[in-house]
Symmetry: C2
Subunit: 197 residues, 2 copies
């Protein structure tokens, strides 16, 4: 199974982290992001969005880190990480949307702007970051895990950009419930960190 | 089953549309959005995000329109609308992320700014709109439906804000594949339109 990967991408890290939790090997294919390899024909044929990660499993090709988590959990991870029961699956799904929306446009965007000089509204990204962090912290005041009362792909989807939020000058010090949740996740068997962290 | 609803919300329409496709009755509870009812204690207890739709099914309470679609499809819609096979489910999931991210921050944001005077970067919302519309149009040049070669919740999640994109001055005239796909969806049994459309 091939992962078209960039080491500093939080979205790629999501996939590496979850694959490590469920102990499936990935054939990592580094993408030369700085030279725009993801925008060139070969990779655009795999993902017209021009983004990574891309997962290739036989003739299955998937873009979007949330979709890749769903695929890996459904096919290889089992019920624990991606419940099949409707209300539990929807509970996890709520957080996959948070990862795709609030986390991406909050701490994800703040980091892109600060660390990589991407265009964007820094003040807006910080405002969005603290809004979603407060909601998550409040949720975690009464829950050990984001969804379904156990570690799921919800945690794997939301954790990465929070764990590197400091690279976008987003300060998580006061969110004690988030910090405790991060510690719990970091103690799970198979946990790996972002390179450099 | 209760849907806390706002008639002009595309996210609420997603839920009404899909419920109509699978022919399940919803008890519609109109939320007095203009007077901020969604930000008051009673609704914040159901959804701390302060957003609608909210679905209540017995003691199950769900926020996020994508998660609500997953719940309804899993519990009441069956395999057709939300495939259980890993690669097909992930195919649908790719588009649920598109709905939560690119559609929300593209045509969704453009409409909020234009129609409701919401704060936001209008130029950025238009740029994002045309970028995602071009990608969707290209995808639909070789597919009748967004995912899994059949109508799924992917179509129900992406269609609403495209069907009302004109309210944000996003012009879809030149996207002939999108228009043909919209026609196909509008001909499905149970289709209902946005109020006023």
């Amino acid at each position: 199974m091939k992962l078209y990967d960039l080491d500093v991408s939080g979205n790629c890290y999501k996939v590496r982290l979850f694959a490590s939790f469920i102990d499936i090997p990935l054939n990592i294919v580094p993408v030369d992001f700085m030279h725009g390899e993801h925008k060139k024909e070969t990779l655009l044929q795999l993902n017209p969005w021009g983004e990574i990660p891309i997962l290739e499993d036989g003739n299955i090709v998937l873009r979007d880190s949330q979709a890749i988590l769903v695929y890996l959990a459904n096919k290889y991870g089992g019920e624990a990480w991606w419940p099949s029961e409707a209300h539990l699956q929807a509970d996890v799904m709520q957080w996959l949307s948070v990862a795709a929306n609030e986390i991406k446009h909050g701490p994800g965007a703040a980091r892109l702007i600060k660390k990589f000089g991407s265009e964007g509204d820094r003040a807006q990204s910080l405002e969005r970051s603290y809004k979603i962090l407060a909601l998550i912290d409040s949720h975690l005041s009464t829950h050990n895990w984001l969804a379904a009362n156990r570690p799921t792909i919800a945690d794997c989807a939301v954790y990465p950009y929070i764990s590197i939020a400091y690279e976008g000058d987003v300060v998580i010090d006061k969110y004690s419930n988030i910090k405790a949740w991060m510690n719990r996740l970091e103690e799970l068997p198979g946990y790996i960190s972002m390179p450099g962290n």
